[in-house]
């Protein structure tokens, strides 16, 4: 008998559950309750949570301002104006050279120091960025470089994780939830940023999200949080 059969028959002998006996799973998840009402003020709450985990941010009027914002940010932390960026049309169509930023497109390799990516969504409750892997969104961009700059259209900000999953049409290879820069407290409980992932995590929030096409079959329309809240409850 294979290990699989042995284990499954042991389980069946113990409590009668089998592959075929589909149970009714209807345990209701509670809705998170805080002192602040982050449902009606998602952006402010998102930024506050992001700051708490040592993330930084800028608010931009529209996508066209992204290259300049990247330039200013990199100059501020004294880094070369060279980035590896997600091959996402929303980013490739921008005028990077005008801002003096040398952008290449694709996945990250070991020497790449700065990455620029398009967020799939943001989660207000925890100040989290959700990345969904695809041709336009290589996973290595999120982890290998020292600095990760993420562009988040404000319309893609959802209240909580429960409102994020309905936006994902097909299960991708990887969904990465990122909440601030990489860190470790493995030495004497002292927090040090930049353990293996990025040392700096910077979010550019885009106010005007017209003309932003979303990948993975996602539609870019303002998300009616009230509607989704009711649907999930």
């Amino acid at each position: 008998m294979s290990a699989r059969q042995t284990i499954l028959s042991e389980i069946q002998a113990r409590n009668g559950s089998t592959a075929e006996a589909a149970p009714d799973f209807n345990i209701q998840i509670p809705s998170p309750e805080y002192d602040v009402d982050f449902w009606s003020n998602k952006t402010a709450h998102f930024l506050q949570m992001l700051e708490q985990v040592h993330g930084t941010w800028n608010i931009l009027a529209n996508m066209d301002e992204v290259p300049n914002a990247v330039m200013c940010y990199l100059q501020g932390i004294h880094l070369e104006l060279r980035v590896i960026a997600a091959p996402d049309e929303n980013l490739t169509r921008l005028h990077w050279q005008q801002s003096g930023v040398d952008a290449t497109w694709g996945k990250a390799e070991k020497p790449d120091r700065v990455s620029v990516t398009m967020a799939y969504a943001g989660i207000a409750e925890t100040g989290t960025i959700a990345m969904v892997s695809s041709a336009q969104s290589p996973v290595t961009l999120n982890f290998l470089p020292e600095v990760n700059i993420v562009v988040l259209p404000e319309s893609r900000l959802v209240p909580a994780m429960e409102q994020f999953w309905p936006l994902v049409k097909q299960q991708p290879r990887a969904v990465n939830f990122i909440t601030g820069p990489s860190k470790t407290a493995d030495i004497e409980q002292t927090i040090v940023y930049g353990a293996h992932g990025p040392k700096k995590f910077h979010v550019l929030i885009i106010k005007d999200s017209r003309n932003i096409a979303m990948q993975n079959g996602g539609v870019n329309q303002p998300i009616d949080s009230g509607l989704i809240k009711n649907a999930s409850a």
């Binding site: 290990a3 284990i7 042991e10 389980i11 069946q12 113990r14 409590n15 559950s17 089998t18 592959a19 589909a22 149970p23 799973f25 345990i27 998840i29 509670p30 809705s31 998170p32 309750e33 805080y34 002192d35 949570m49 708490q52 985990v53 694709g106 070991k110 925890t126 100040g127 892997s133 041709a135 290589p138 996973v139 290595t140 982890f143 909580a160 994780m161 429960e162 299960q171 991708p172 290879r173 990887a174 969904v175 990465n176 939830f177 990122i178 909440t179 820069p181 990489s182 860190k183 470790t184 407290a185 493995d186 030495i187 004497e188 409980q189 040090v192 930049g194 353990a195 293996h196 992932g197």
Partner: protein, 484 residues
């Protein structure tokens, strides 16, 4: 991993005398306890999530056969493979086979307690593979040739000076001549060295915090990002996870994530929560070519519908360790196997054999803090008490304690006699305490007592009140009746 829980008594004595260890544990305890408390307080209905977590885990365990098969089907649908292993040896053979077929030389690992159970590193190294742990804490203890002393902070027992010396010993030959002493520099040096390993490894092995049945996904929660690089850069990704890690769907994942970060490190959300489903897709430009999930039983299925089933709800947050007066005094190594603290004292006798771990369920004051902080409401003290009872039934207790218990048992069955004897003993002690005040000890304390040396060796025994509670109660009842 070899079971050394039989040495618990001597190992805990040694640990108590180790001042460096006590200092390290003191630092950790304060940090973990306070940060947890603060972050839990902010989520006003945290209690509702605890009940939710408890119910979802109970539901999944009740239908474990269904959820495991559903998980398996979904992984296969996405181009991944699922392997089943009854024990550690089978698991290691499967891993060796995958590594051999991938022609691997270098293997990197994310933190996995289950692979510690199976002693996977040892089995890989014996076959000539180079295995590198990538979680900073795990990397440190791998260099030191030690085992984890905490399930989420494996090197919590090491001081910064320890790490400085350790890195100097191992990294000098890699061209790092000077000693690094600042926290940042230590982390940076590890980052540089491990970055090289990441980029050249052939196989990445990670654990999983959760397996999502609905989508065939393995969920890995880290703060460093090492798990994600391990799951992304090598051409083969192997997830090793025990059966009870499976949960129904993404909605339940959201519930567990609200519990896990807060209970483990006091974080609202850990830095990286990654959901991996299958190998690289046709459209992907990075990610592994092969995605394997290894489901390890190692004694779990035997616990279903047993008196110990509730321990299978455990999500390995480590809160019970951080709040345990025994763990925070002796650290993790004294427990002698993979899992220390309250959850370890419940699991070790079951998974590693009761007679190998007899002292663990007794190393508990039954203060109940662990149960209070457990995010999935595991009745840890109750399970430890159950172990004690089973230990007596299985005949592993000494004749002395058996005799003692028998005497107490026959007394307890006769309440009148019990009251008389205890009342006599207590008033005797109370009288003795007053006579003894000339011996130099503060009044009302005993420095030595017959039959209680282990207790009085390290502390004084307080003298009891002159009469028992039951006597007082009776007197009160009588006088109350008169007053009416």
């Amino acid at each position: 991993m070899e079971v050394r829980s039989r040495e618990f008594r001597s190992a805990s004595k040694t640990a108590l005398l180790n001042d460096d260890l006590r200092a390290a544990l003191g630092r950790a305890e304060g940090g973990f306890v306070n940060t947890r408390k603060n972050s839990v307080a902010k989520l006003k209905n945290f209690a509702a999530y605890r009940s939710y977590g408890e119910q979802v885990k109970d539901h999944t365990l009740k239908h474990l056969g269904y959820y495991l098969c559903r998980f398996e089907r979904k992984v296969i649908e996405q181009g991944g493979r699922v392997h089943w292993a009854k024990n550690g040896e089978e698991a290691n053979n499967i891993i060796l086979d995958i590594c051999a077929r991938a022609n691997a030389k270098k293997i990197i690992k994310g933190k996995s307690m289950v692979s510690e159970e199976a002693a996977t590193n040892k089995s890989l190294e014996q076959q000539g593979y180079e295995v590198v742990e990538t979680d900073l804490g795990e990397y440190i203890i791998q260099l030191a040739k030690e085992s984890p002393s905490h399930i989420i902070a494996p090197a919590v027992h090491k001081s910064r000076q320890d790490v400085t010396e350790l890195f100097h010993r191992h990294h000098a030959k890699l061209g790092y001549a000077g000693k690094v002493t600042r926290h940042e520099d230590i982390v940076n040096q590890a980052r540089e060295i491990l970055r090289d390993h990441f980029c050249r490894a052939d196989v990445g092995i990670t654990g999983a915090n959760f397996l999502v049945a609905d989508t065939g996904s393995a969920v890995i929660v880290t703060n460093e990002g090492n798990g994600d690089l391990t799951a992304t850069l090598p051409t083969v990704h192997i997830v090793i996870a025990s059966l009870e890690k499976v949960i129904p769907d993404m909605v339940s994942l959201g519930g567990f994530l609200r519990l896990l970060g807060r209970s483990a490190t006091g974080q609202i959300m850990s830095v990286y929560t990654s959901v991996f489903s299958g190998p690289k897709r046709a459209i992907d430009v990075d990610g592994p070519e092969e995605f394997h999930v290894l489901l390890l039983d190692n004694g779990r299925s035997n616990l279903l519908n047993s008196r110990y089933q509730e321990i299978l709800r455990c999500i390995r947050c480590g809160a019970c360790l951080n709040h345990c007066p025994v763990y925070t005094s002796i650290g993790g190594h004294a427990y002698g196997w993979v899992y220390p603290g309250p959850m370890g004292s419940v699991l070790t006798p079951i998974l590693a054999g009761r007679k190998n771990a007899m002292d663990l369920p007794n190393a508990c004051t039954l203060n109940g803090r662990c149960e209070t902080v457990c995010p999935v409401k595991i009745p840890l003290p109750e399970l430890l008490r159950q172990h004690r009872s089973d230990l007596v039934d299985s005949g592993y207790t000494s004749w002395m304690s058996k005799l003692g218990l028998r005497i107490w048992f026959s007394l307890a069955k006769r309440p009148g006699l019990y009251r008389k004897i205890t009342g006599m003993l207590i008033s005797m002690l109370a009288v003795c305490a007053r006579i003894k005040s000339s011996t130099g000890l503060p009044k009302g304390r005993f420095g030595r007592l017959p039959l209680a040396q282990p207790w009085t060796m390290t502390r004084d025994f307080p003298a009891p009140a002159r009469t028992t509670f039951q006597n007082l109660w009776q007197v009160r009842q009588k006088s109350g009746a008169k007053n009416k």
